[in-house]
Amino acid sequence: MNKDTLLEVNDLKVHFPAGRASAFGERLTVHAVDGISFRVPRQSTFGIVGESGSGKSTTAQAIMRLVPITAGRITLGDDDLTALRGDELRKARRHFQMIFQDPYSALNPRRRAGDLIREPLDLLEVGTATERAERLEALLKVVGLPPEAAMLFPHQFSGGQRQRLVIARALSTQPDLIVCDEPVSALDVAIQAQILNLLKRLQQQHGLTYVFISHDLGVVQHLCDEIAVMYLGQIVEQAPSAQLFAGPRHPYTWSLMTAAAPPGGLRQSLKQRFGLRGEPPSPINPPPGCRFAGRCPFADDRCRKETPQLAVSKPGHFVACHKTEEVSAAGSSIMAAA
């Protein structure tokens, strides 16, 4: 493994049982994550975007070892996370932490903020009691909260302040990797900027590596170095941020971009070519062929029969689509006309 790679995910699959079709019918399986692979270099931010049901949150939970992994391998530094069990896993957890979407449900309402932030240190028995108290004060300062905050309960904080508490808790064990699952989508716009700037500053100061999950392309572009676009459990396109937004090569990425494009003439012309109808199919027994074919304006018979594989399209740019050339040409002609 490359020395600069911190996290490596290899052919990860997470399937959930979904009962039976009928009393004696076949067993149904939700293919939440269906064979994804990526690498995250140290001190970089890897973004995962997609609609709800695309498997992005399940991927985050799998990396955190919070859901059972059906197949595949996740390596953090030199540790094979998928092989860890029990006490070993618990000890390893100090190296990877998570920031949750909803700061209202991620904090125990009956415990004081200081206890909540110190809890990982207490559980992992890091340092002496005095050292932990000092660390708590430092953590509050790092996320921009006054020392008095330690004595308050979660309901005494605003949404943005609660997210700061969640971030302080994630930082407490000095992790290498932080998985952020939609960390700003529950917050007001003006507060989102505060939290995004804080995350960026912390990354520089502490050399953190982020896996950043979001459905907001603007946010992802702002923060991420590399981006994977997921659709129905699979990565359909992956590229460095600048390259991806300069010229996507998968029709689904174009559709996402269209929905998030700044208002105006460009958005209108993109919408005519790439605007999406309908919603993703069910992840229970997904259709054969390309999973996006049913909503894709470019799909033909081959797309509905033959599953496209994620392949190198340009250096560093991976796409799973039979129609890459046609899609890029259509997209760039619209962009050039604008």
Binding site: S158, D188, I191, Q221, A260, P263, G275, E279, M335
Partner: protein, 334 residues
């Protein structure tokens, strides 16, 4: 013809017990705006700025303790601010209706979607069960729900979030209301579905000629479908004008902050540039009863000085219906 909705100098207060007895805490102060038929106004601001309270005041649904202290709300010239409950019930779901943020909690889980759409039709238009059902199917078709003849008999939990919001829209528009209030109708939905819902609202509006009050915290997301924007801060309107003007030449530091704090997607060549740090608005919206008489934004504003700390800023009219309440409006360079 009067505008569909005309709000004049509206103030809403909350009666709160304090050491000095009952006290009226201002919630909305001197709000004025109007919407013509077929037009859309966006109310923009953070949580706690009074957007939803404005909506509830219009619908006559203010929670207990809140009351309209002064001003008028006119629906096609008729004052609805002081109507008795029975008369309001005649209006709601009929001449004015509302779409809520979370379609799962706004729909009744124990009735089929068909029953819920038919209810307004039978109540307000006196349709028979059969006729109401047919109209409900037509409404579901109009909001682009596939196989409406089958979908009419399903329960809300059997539908996806996007489908449920379409049902909410069908329900709100079933009686062809003159006024529709949409309170963050797409916040709970995926981006691709958001775009579909906004398109749908626009189409239905053109067909029926409804006036829409759209409540949102994301200005750029709704720019395409709104004609006018009113920015609220701490219960007061601080800037108002045509959408294009507000977006390209915002003058109030709060409006400018709101626009600058959202990371806007950069496409094509601009995507290759490294991202600039986001501008943030420090602090947060002051709570009820902590607003004072002066400019409510002054404590968070980096331009606050002199007059800001002495006299409340008046609403001053600029060009083409652009109005701003600020002692230090910012120039045109965004």
């Amino acid at each position: 013809m009067p505008p569909v909705l005309e709000i004049d100098n509206l103030s809403v207060t909350l009666q709160q017990a304090s050491s000095a007895g009952m006290q009226a805490v201002p919630v909305l102060e001197n709000l004025s705006f109007s919407v013509e038929a077929g037009k859309t106004i966006a109310l923009v601001g953070e949580s706690g700025c009074g957007k939803s309270m404005t909506a509830l005041a219009i619908m006559g649904l203010l929670p207990e303790g809140f009351q309209i202290a002064q001003g008028s709300i006119a629906l096609e010239g008729q004052d609805v601010a002081h109507l008795p409950d029975a008369a309001l019930r005649q209006l709601r779901g009929n001449r004015m209706s509302m779409i809520f943020q979370e379609p799962m909690t706004a729909l009744n889980p124990v009735y089929t979607v068909g029953d819920q759409i038919s209810e307004a039709l039978r109540l307000h238009q006196g349709l028979s069960r059969q006729d109401a059902r047919e109209r409900a199917i037509a409404m579901l078709r109009a909001v682009q729900i596939p196989a409406p003849e089958r979908r009419i008999d399903v329960y809300p939990h059997q539908m996806s979030g996007g489908m449920r919001q379409r049902v909410m829209i069908a329900m709100a528009l079933a009686c062809r209301p003159r006024l529709l209030i949409a309170d963050e109708p797409t916040t709970a939905l995926d981006v691709t579905v958001q775009a579909q819902i906004f398109d749908l609202l626009r189409e239905m509006q053109q067909e029926i000629g409804t006036a829409i009050v759209l409540i949102t915290h994301d200005l750029s997301a709704v720019a395409d479908i709104t004609d006018e924007v009113a920015v609220l801060y701490a219960g007061r309107c601080i800037e108002q004008g045509p959408t294009a003007t507000i977006l390209s030449q915002p003058q109030h530091p709060y409006t400018r902050g709101l626009i600058a704090s959202v990371p806007h997607l950069r496409l094509g060549e601009a995507a290759a540039q490294p991202s600039e740090p986001l501008e943030e608005i420090p602090g947060m919206v002051p709570g009820l009863g902590k607003r004072g008489q002066l400019c409510g934004f002054a404590p968070r504003c980096r331009f606050a000085a002199g007059a800001c700390l002495e006299t409340p800023p008046p609403m001053t009219a600029g060009s083409a219906g652009h109005r701003v309440a600020c002692w230090h409006p910012q120039g045109e360079a965004a």
